[in-house]
Amino acid sequence: MSDALIAAFDDCLGALEAGASLDAVLARYPALADELRPMLVAAQAVRPSEPLRVPKQSEDASRARFLARARVLRSARRPAPSLFPQLSLALRLAVWLMALLTAGTLGGFGLVAAASPSLPGDLLYDVKRSAEQAQLALTADPAARAALANQFEARRLLEAQAVVAQGRVVAVAFTGVVEQQAGDRWVIAGLPVSVPAGQGAGVGLGRRVHVSGTAQADGVIRADRIEPADDGPTPPPSPTEPPAPPTTPAPTPTSEPSATADERETERAEPSRTPAPTQTPRPSVSPTKTGSGSAPSNTPPPATLPPSADPTHTAAPTANSGGGGPAPTATPPPPGPTATADPEPSETEHPEEVEFSGTVEATGAVWVISGQAVTITGETEFEDNPGLGDEVRVKAWRLPDGSLVAREIDKR
């Protein structure tokens, strides 16, 4: 294999690509023609005769997922609104006392607890929302408050899903990603939404939106308002603000975690995992942090294509690499400390960590795993791309109200 032959081969390839005939290009190199001919025939055999087509639908879907995920990560970077650090302990105690009085007026803590599962339109729904506002007001730590806001946001979506499932006719408000658009019928965070003329103008697939409207008996939400929710997390209300009316809950941001492999999955040497990303966005609710299990690393990846290009990847020889050399292995950086705070709901109330196993019965902003509802946040880590019907192991926080926030869901 001489340099001249290699150069001639490349030149001939270019000429063939430009439309020249095989004989014509070989005529350029009569001394090398016998060697070049079978090579060029082989090259023609494995080269597509026309540019490979890229389906627009695939590109659009990827783009929607990509940008929706970016919004989640952007939200995770944005510091949570800090409304209360300037408040003195005395003032916070005063706020807490006000909340106690409010709760007492309504019948005490028992009533608050009883209101937890209530849905829009229920008698106790006001109590539930008031308790949420008080809880937010009393949480000083920004990260904890953001996590709490996300939890409440997840509830709004869960409530909307519940009332739709029950066929209730009641006002709902939630935030979610636009997953489908077919005329005036959209799917937002998995919920069918009827969009009246004039609403949602300029909102495209993958866009996160606030939706307020009325759930109909046929399971479709008739939207009254659809507004882009690109401004990040909705700040928790100040302690002086009245709670939102129960029938028009204030929307808080909904976002979407990666529907794809956790990078850690490919870090494991055996067995390696094909990412098998799904084509269906998995709506979620928490913009607090990436769903990736990987932590920041100071080791930049090489910029070129060889196996080390993806720092998260553990390469191995291809399955049928008989004629070739082994593919070197890129060792990923070890996971390090995460960049953002754990989703503790407050400074004083540390959630209990729980683990359980079960079958995934529903996915979305809230997963149902063997009958247990678990809120998915941007912090939730997925391993092996669990989905409907999969047996999974769940690590979660149990918040003071008994609800679960998933930390990790591993396919078993």
Binding site: M1, V46, S49, P51, A70, P277, S294, P301
Partner: protein
Amino acid sequence: MSAAELSEKALLEQARRLDERALSQIHDRYYPEIYRYALYRTGRTEVADDIASEVFLRLLDALHNGRAPQTTLRGWLFGVASNLVVDHYRKAPRESQGLDETVAAPGSLPAAAEQNWQRREVRAALRQLTREQQEVLGLRFGDGISVEETAAVMGKSVNAVKALQFRAVEALRRVLGVSEVSHE
């Protein structure tokens, strides 16, 4: 430093801040070639869909975690795509050897000989190449990018890419037994 490089660096800088406009540009600019690359390497549109989409999600996570490419975004994206192709074959080694009837554009089905790259035996032969050989053919033939661009993506010299390309085709020629065909 070329204008294109400057532009990519500027894009990267904005992308590190997860700027939506920059991210959109990155996706629009690179998705088609990442998709074509994955399609050529795997021969299956649905796998190419998944891999191309995953590449960009990996980019986001890398940007978010401070592990973003420092200079050559394009090379980084192709590198991740290549890793995902390897993962795909490792998970399903018998997949992606079959014909994918959906690859050719509807209404423009080329002659059978022109679809050779999709043939089962050709796909099997491609997979017998070294990883680098498969990568160079993916870039050169699947994406149709120049030797110079391929060299930049792979971090190799132009001459090294030409030699790698030659060896890849030579290996294919041996596996496919093209010599007899050449004299017909």
